[in-house]
Symmetry: C2
Subunit: 464 residues, 2 copies
Amino acid sequence: MFDPADTGLNTLLGKIKEIVESNEIRRLPKIPKGTRDFGKEQMAIREHAFSIITNVFKRHGAVALDTPVFELRETLMGKYGEDSKLIYDLADQGGELCSLRYDLTVPFARYLAMNNINSLKRYQIAKVYRRDNPSKGRYREFYQCDLDIAGQYKVMEPDFEVINVLTDLLDELNIGDYEIKLNHRKLLDGMLEICGVSSDKFRTVCSSIDKLDKQSFEQVKKELVEEKGLGIETADKIGQLVKKRGPPLEILSDLKGKDSPFLGNNGSLLALNELEILFKALEKSKCLKKIVFDLSLARGLDYYTGVIFEAVFKGAAQVGSIAAGGRYDNLVGMFSGKQVPAVGVSLGIERVFTILEQLEKENKVIRATETQVLVAILGEDLSLAAELVRELWDAKIKADFSLNKRIRNHIDRAVESGIPLVVFIGESELISGTFKLKNIESHQEDEIRREHFTEEIKKRLNMV
Amino acid sequence: MFDPADTGLNTLLGKIKEIVESNEIRRLPKIPKGTRDFGKEQMAIREHAFSIITNVFKRHGAVALDTPVFELRETLMGKYGEDSKLIYDLADQGGELCSLRYDLTVPFARYLAMNNINSLKRYQIAKVYRRDNPSKGRYREFYQCDLDIAGQYKVMEPDFEVINVLTDLLDELNIGDYEIKLNHRKLLDGMLEICGVSSDKFRTVCSSIDKLDKQSFEQVKKELVEEKGLGIETADKIGQLVKKRGPPLEILSDLKGKDSPFLGNNGSLLALNELEILFKALEKSKCLKKIVFDLSLARGLDYYTGVIFEAVFKGAAQVGSIAAGGRYDNLVGMFSGKQVPAVGVSLGIERVFTILEQLEKENKVIRATETQVLVAILGEDLSLAAELVRELWDAKIKADFSLNKRIRNHIDRAVESGIPLVVFIGESELISGTFKLKNIESHQEDEIRREHFTEEIKKRLNMV
């Protein structure tokens, strides 16, 4: 006999329900690992951030550039050192071999070389692609906001401006206190020379030193000795020097002091002289207080040749770098054979979004649309809506319309979307030629004549 | 003996020169076939066009959405009919199989299904990818500007708005006279039914009919009979009906006339009633004059289910469609099993760029930057530049600086970039505390005191 209270049957039904539901869930589409959609609220935040960033870039006289999302594979090869394994390749479907861009710097250098351009200050805000582990809140598709200055200039002229761009960006985005760690590749190389490292090991030793922000010196020393083959004494010498870190002018005068080992090294001397010019200019432009001269900053990428820097948040909550950059005088020449010196900064915007999203959530509701008026037709007459809403659109008023018999539905919709004004038009309003206008926030109601419809609405929107 | 006038030697030298030069050229980097860079002038035009388009989209109350540039391959499969072969795949580097997006409509439908959204008016301006033949000025990476309205509405409510969006876009971009060909998939299917085509052949016959804008009916008839297996009589019947083309209300009253074969077909009747509501509303909103009711319009894509349309330029010079769209009520359901009706329009912006570029070239020089002041340091003192230009940046003035002893170089640079004001600071100016300010256009020269530097410049830029 069928007994709905039977435990066995209930268990069975429960299991069936589970399977059906899991099928339902499984049927929903997904997006690729490490990617994401930007819904309406995220887009509103993103547009806000981009407009701040674009304003800074334009204020500094940069022109916009856009390059294809994929490049010939040969363009990207040999530019990123160990990180090349993270490059996304397109499938070979016949024709050229292509890969998604990994950053915006290499495409910029390719663009300069291809078009024989010797001088350009450009910005680019675009997505880049890295097959990285997306587990730690990192994405595989993410935005970079870059400004680069290529060309022959007086010493430190563009380096100075690029760092000003960076402080302007972080100040105007207003996302928390930060400092900019700064070093010079030639000083770093000189330091390694002084410590007795052979020049063919400079880059690989640098990538070990670069880990000092996450690992202790003991760990890095182990790597230097066991993996990179340095002597213990050499590693300890390096350990002494990379400890130097502090206010730029203090560290600089220390490194230029009369017993400094750097005085006997030509590359280091050149670097120290450049840094002196840079620091003095940054002091005049009130950016120097943000700079920390840090001899342990090495930066992973192969292509840097001069000043290098990295902006990090102060305080425990914010981890990792938010922007970075430096000078790369040989990259363009790798494409064309003709050197064009260049320096640039790259802001990783994903962390900025996260912070802005948190701030916005705490502060206020974000409007995803800017609609100013809802034309609420109390019925189904599309032609009536057409006539009225067209008048508003022609007057460049952001207007939406809706066909619905129930006043409540129209008001709910306006409240939900933050639309400030609603005009109601039903049969009696059509006969009388007088429409009811409701201000959602003040609850004030008003009557306007059909013949002054657009004009009256413009008045209330302060558009007259 | 060596004779430089020797013809044989000259020929040889010429050949060597040729080879060396061709090697030089070969060494320059390239970008993938069918892609392009947007340099500073193109970017200025593009930003101008995007700002017009975004304004229209926002005026119509749409929210922004962004989706990843690649989707899971399964998301794109089975949506594009024969065109699927043009999809770019990512290489299989372990992990999921992905492909570059082919349009913005399928990702939009995937987004709605994935997030269980039943109603959304969204716009998206983004690049899409097609492995098409790039020979005819077409690109493999190109922008689409889409607005779609998903959700339950009164009959023709969103269809009406989408067509208004399209006329607003084309009117405000102001790129030439156009017309919008419009038809209805259910009318088309009804027509084929009336002509005796079996329903399993509707889609493939449609894609033949769609060629009527480029081929004669005789050519299309041949394809229908020989490739698609229709009878000659059936093909001729189709030929008679697809000829109908003209002002919407005239054609409509013809098709609804008492001897019309469409009256006996349910799908056609439904379509004709919808079109009547749509045309009347479009007449009220003054868009109907742009519409041509064209029974030969079929549109290639599989997913359309209702109103379909395509905007084309009038006149010989402009060929091909510039925008297109239609209703697709079943696409979201293909992902989630739950139907969400939707209608949208997609503007192909590449042709718009080409036209705008031509117009701009004829009319005026485009400024790629907005720089307002050049701080011209007559020497090499970076710190001096730093102090002055920082003041301007802090006042949100778009300022650039330059270190150069020669006045001429500064002026050349300002003229080239269209910078309206130049301030000169040399040694004597520093001593006197009075700087020379030059207005490039009027050639007027002025003196300003150091202590009123920023203030005086703001005055001249009308920023006070």
